[in-house]
């Protein structure tokens, strides 16, 4: 499989080149920061009229990750919707598509800063998910261990190309944003740098995940 396998908190995790994280021991697939409905939110706020295709694109890629790993549990790690109205404003195609993906498996919506409220699409809504030895939450907490989070959209550059990346050290994993219309924060930004230990690793998304010492 096209994945970077690493050991974390005593268990093996697979980071897929698409930006999703798979935990074989629990058959759990985790994606972060989908930001569904982002273009809709922009349009609503009389900002720019962005191409309204990012929800379709994000779901296409999520479906591919699910088909590849066939998980029992899917964890969406927060900021799944660009805001609360974007969630209720999802069109029928996207709504049915999500319901189809949810069928036959446990689905957990972790709340993020963009989408703090409950989700009316089914699945479980939680502030965070303890799944020992791991804990899934949206924003990393100082002092935590065995923590999987998102929020920062880390990105890094290698051989002249910048890509979204996962960063991890012995305490925490921070996932890249999975959504199509998402930017990134360089890993040398203080917000990420200060959270991570000196020996942190960055794994870049792409056709083959690339592992480098986290640029800081």
């Amino acid at each position: 499989m096209n994945a970077h396998v690493f050991s974390f908190a005593g268990t093996d995790l697979h980071f897929l080149g698409t930006g999703a994280l798979y935990w074989p021991a629990r058959e759990l697939l985790c994606v972060s920061d989908l930001h569904l409905g982002r273009s809709e939110r922009f349009a609503r706020r009389a900002g720019a009229l962005l191409p309204p295709y990012e929800t379709r694109d994000t779901l296409t890629r999520l479906e591919a990750a699910i088909e590849m790993t066939e998980p029992q549990i899917v964890v969406c790690l927060g900021d799944s919707f660009d805001d609360h109205a974007a969630q209720s404003g999802l069109d029928d195609v996207a709504r049915l598509w999500l319901i189809r993906l949810m069928a036959g498996r446990r689905w957990v919506w972790i709340e993020g800063n963009h989408d703090p409220g409950p989700v009316d699409l089914g699945g479980t809504h939680m502030a965070e998910l303890p799944e020992p030895p791991l804990t899934f939450r949206h924003i990393a907490r100082v002092g935590a261990a065995g923590e999987i989070s998102g929020h920062y959209h880390p990105k890094a550059r290698v051989a002249g190309r910048t890509r979204p990346c996962l960063v991890h050290d012995s305490d925490r994993v921070i996932l890249p944003a999975f959504g199509t219309y998402t930017g990134g924060l360089r890993t040398d930004d203080a917000a990420i740098r200060d959270l991570m230990r000196d020996e942190a690793i960055a794994v870049l998304t792409g056709p083959r995940p690339l592992t480098i010492p986290m640029p800081r």
């Binding site: 349009a43 191409p51 309204p52 930004d189 870049l204 690339l210 010492p213």
Partner: protein, 797 residues
């Protein structure tokens, strides 16, 4: 001949001046609806433009805005205000003159709208902003004349198109408005007049003055085989500076200007006061140099295109152009910077940076003497600018689509606009123009019951106004000395990202050491070393013009080569003996082995951009044939390709249909396309650069326009903005037009020379920087290798 009113005549008399014939001529045409004046630098163009205004205001004083003056530079507008207020005060005329630009205070701007001066001096962007306000009809109610300065410079970019749309709007607000265009020497004045207005527009050409005194600088050492910068000529340049009062030393790129200045300073034993001026330097650095220049404190300035335009800097008596001029028209305009006295010849020296440029410089000198200027015809008015104009129009109030279409077509730049294209732009502005139409919210404009269009949300005006303009800033980062807040200048983000701590580069003539990349700036420290490790940044590369390329091809075939220095004449003769000389009507291809690789050299003479595109397309075809191309390097004249297998019969490489097929597939993925898209999306209003107030969330909330480009390509490939992007890239960065020109001129006639060694003309290409690896599966492997190396280095592998 028209005479001046007594007040003006007396003023001229006290100064001991008399007006130029073309200035009086312009006065005589004061009542004409449109006039284009072509005059060389120093010809008193601007006064010619203003004379009718002064006369009218003296003879028939009126309140309100009478004349609008538009220039491409803020500084020029401010300069003009000073030049006008002096004489107006001396003649004690009741005429108010003010300038208006992005630097003008808000209070002042408001006052100008409430009570406009007689003469307002401004820029195209500030005018577009004025037009976006509801009170525009009142502000321009009494406008009589518009004077556009440096029209040739504005016409060279989208700023000109935007300005023409604004003038069409003014014409609607104030029918009968008269316009005057002022331009430096151009190759096709009637074409510029057609761009200026779709109505008849007589062209007035002032006496061009005496021929310039222009020659190649004689140097002690011959120029090198390749490279740019002209560092070999340093002593000779210093000697020329010593012999003149003030010298401008022009370079084609900022990087070359920096390197040259650095070396000039090292060789400057007498410590002659010499400054540097280019667009990457911090504003106060530039202003310091400008002030020193005006005060006559500098003997020379090393500069780039930022000094091409306008400001009158007094006593320049020599212009030196380092590197091939690439374009005769720009060379003539630069030469005009020397000697602002109208009737004395300007003096210029050309410094070719390498052997090919020796030929190009000679060809350019001959073109200047023949007054044979170059230039490509302008394309139709760009649609992204039209999209922005529709938004600006909507900000001022509801509009009728029919009337707006007629108004737009009345501007010369958009005279051939099809209704369907206009409708597509309107649809894009109104709804985004997407194939998928799911939500009512996808509406920026809505149609009122009376059929007119208006903004759905009036608050949108703020965002539109903040993003007016077509100037694209490349993403740059400020450079600061560690522990200091004052910026030294700017570098491109891409350049900054390629640096590793310890790298040294040039900034403002100093060698600095890269320390770190902070969020919004690059931190550097002083470096004692004299040689920078990395020197390249912001390399704007011009391509040698079609006309100049044709002259070069004719020049090498001349029986008598004495016009050229011996070293270059000998080189041409050797090429003729060993291989062939490239010809206008044929493509020369040379094949030879070197260093274990098969080499193919193609002499296309299509200019750098087109030669790069040609290289990409040709290597694709070679890849398909299993020839294993590994890389190439392209110049204005030729491209050198190396690979595993030799090309046996190069004819297939130049099959037009094959090249176009390759273009279609290759184009979509290309980084140049993404760069074009970014600018189109900015201008058309899809991705605003500026937002009111603070951004709601952190930096991770913004995403690159590349993502939008990829998304549109996947889900909406016929979208308007992709169409505009393709059109622009073909004309601009990819320059396919020049490849087509090459194919038409050579019509499949290929001279193939197979030799066992490097040929004289191919040799310099081996020394050329900017080698490009051929893309393929190799790229991922390359990244993997670097990742592995980094891990191993960190002991984490």
């Amino acid at each position: 001949m028209t005479s001046l009113p007594p007040t003006l005549q007396d003023w001229f008399d006290t100064k001991g001046w008399s007006p130029h014939p073309h200035q009086l001529d312009m006065l005589g045409r004061g009542a004409d609806p449109a006039t284009l004046l072509i005059a060389p630098t120093g010809g008193g163009k601007t006064l010619a433009g203003f004379l009718p205004t002064l006369v009218e205001l003296i003879e028939k004083p009126q309140g309100g805005l009478h004349t609008l003056y538009i220039s491409p530079l803020k500084a020029l507008a401010a300069d003009m205000r000073r030049n006008l207020t002096g004489p107006i005060a001396e003649m004690d005329l009741p005429i108010r003159v003010e300038d208006r630009s992005g630097d003008t205070s808000q209070t002042r701007k408001k006052a100008q709208r409430a009570d406009p001066p007689h003469i307002l001096l401004t820029t195209p962007e500030s005018l577009a902003l004025l037009i976006s306000y509801e009170d525009a009809p009142r502000v321009f109610a009494k406008l009589e004349r518009v004077v556009v300065d440096e029209l040739h410079a504005l016409a060279a970019s989208k700023r000109g198109d935007q300005l023409m749309l604004c003038l069409a709007r003014l014409e609607t607000l104030r029918p009968g408005l008269r316009r005057v265009g002022l331009s430096a020497t151009v190759e096709d004045p009637p074409a510029l007049a057609r761009f200026f207005t779709s109505a008849p527009c007589p062209v007035l050409e002032a006496d061009p003055g005496p021929d310039p005194d222009i020659r190649m600088l004689a140097t002690k050492t011959a120029p090198p085989w390749s490279g740019g910068g002209g560092v070999y000529a340093m002593d000779d340049v210093l000697e020329a500076v010593r012999q003149h009062k003030t010298t401008l030393i022009f370079h084609n790129t900022r990087a070359q200007a920096e390197i040259f200045f650095h070396n000039l300073w090292l060789a400057n034993d007498e410590a002659l006061p010499i400054g540097i001026h280019h667009g990457s330097l911090a504003r106060d650095q530039r202003q310091k140099v400008e002030a020193a220049m005006v005060a006559g404190a500098l003997r020379a300035i090393v500069c780039t295109g930022t000094l091409d335009l306008g400001l009158d800097w007094g006593d320049v008596d020599l212009v030196i152009q380092v590197g091939a001029p690439k374009n005769v028209k720009r060379l003539v305009q630069r030469i005009g910077r020397a000697n602002h006295r109208y009737n004395a010849p300007s003096k210029a020296l050309l410094v070719p940076a390498n052997r090919w440029e020796v030929i190009e410089c000679q060809a350019a000198i001959e073109a200047v003497h023949a007054r044979d200027l170059d230039g490509a015809p302008r394309g139709p008015g760009p649609r992204d600018v039209l999209c922005q104009h529709i938004l600006i129009t909507a900000c001022a109030g509801p509009f009728d689509a029919e009337a707006l279409f007629a108004e737009v077509c009345a501007s010369g730049a958009y005279a051939t606009l099809a209704r369907a294209d206009f409708n597509a732009c309107l649809d894009f502005v109104a709804t985004g123009g997407y194939a998928l139409r799911a939500y009512d919210r996808w509406q920026r404009l809505k149609q009122r019951p009376d059929g007119r269009w208006q903004l759905r949300d009036p608050r949108a005006t703020q965002l539109v106004r903040m993003n007016i303009g077509t100037i694209q800033d490349t993403d740059t980062l400020k450079v600061r000395m560690r522990g200091s807040r004052a910026p030294l200048g700017e570098v491109e983000e891409g350049f900054a990202a390629s640096l590793t701590p310890g790298d040294t580069f040039l900034m403002g003539g100093k060698v600095v050491r890269f320390e770190s990349l902070r969020e919004m700036h690059v931190e550097v420290s002083r470096e004692r070393g004299r040689q920078p490790k990395v020197a390249v940044f912001n390399g704007t590369k011009f391509a040698t013009s079609t006309q100049l390329s044709a002259r070069i091809l004719r020049l090498v075939h001349r029986a008598d080569l004495t016009a050229l220095p011996n070293h270059t004449a000998d080189w041409i003769v050797l090429q003729k003996t060993v291989s062939h000389l490239p010809q206008t009507g044929r493509i020369l291809v040379e094949s030879f082995p070197h260093d274990g690789c098969a080499h193919t050299c193609i002499y296309g003479f299509a200019g750098r951009g087109a030669m790069q595109t040609l290289s990409l397309l040709v290597t694709r075809r070679m890849e398909e044939r299993g020839l294993g191309p590994l890389g190439f390097v392209a110049t204005d004249y030729a491209t050198l390709i190396w690979g595993l297998e030799p090309v046996e019969d190069p004819g297939f490489l130049f099959d037009r249909d094959g090249l176009i097929d390759g273009l279609e597939t290759w184009l979509g993925e290309n980084a140049l396309m993404k760069r074009s898209f970014k600018s189109v999306a900015n201008i058309a209003g899809l991705t605003p650069r500026n937002f009111p107030g603070k951004r709601a969330s952190g930096r991770q909330a913004t995403f690159s326009s590349d993502i939008l480009y990829d998304t549109l390509r996947r889900y909406d490939p016929d979208h308007l903005l992709l169409d505009i992007t393709r059109e622009e890239a073909m004309r601009g960065l990819i320059d396919f037009g020049r490849i087509e020109e090459m194919l038409t001129r050579t019509r499949g006639r290929v001279d193939h020379v197979i030799t066992d060694r490097i040929t004289p003309f191919a040799a310099p290409l081996f020394l050329e920087p900017g080698r490009i690896p051929v893309e393929g599966a190799g790229r991922e492997a390359l990244a993997q290798a670097e990742a592995d190396r980094l891990m191993a280095e960190a002991g984490l592998g």
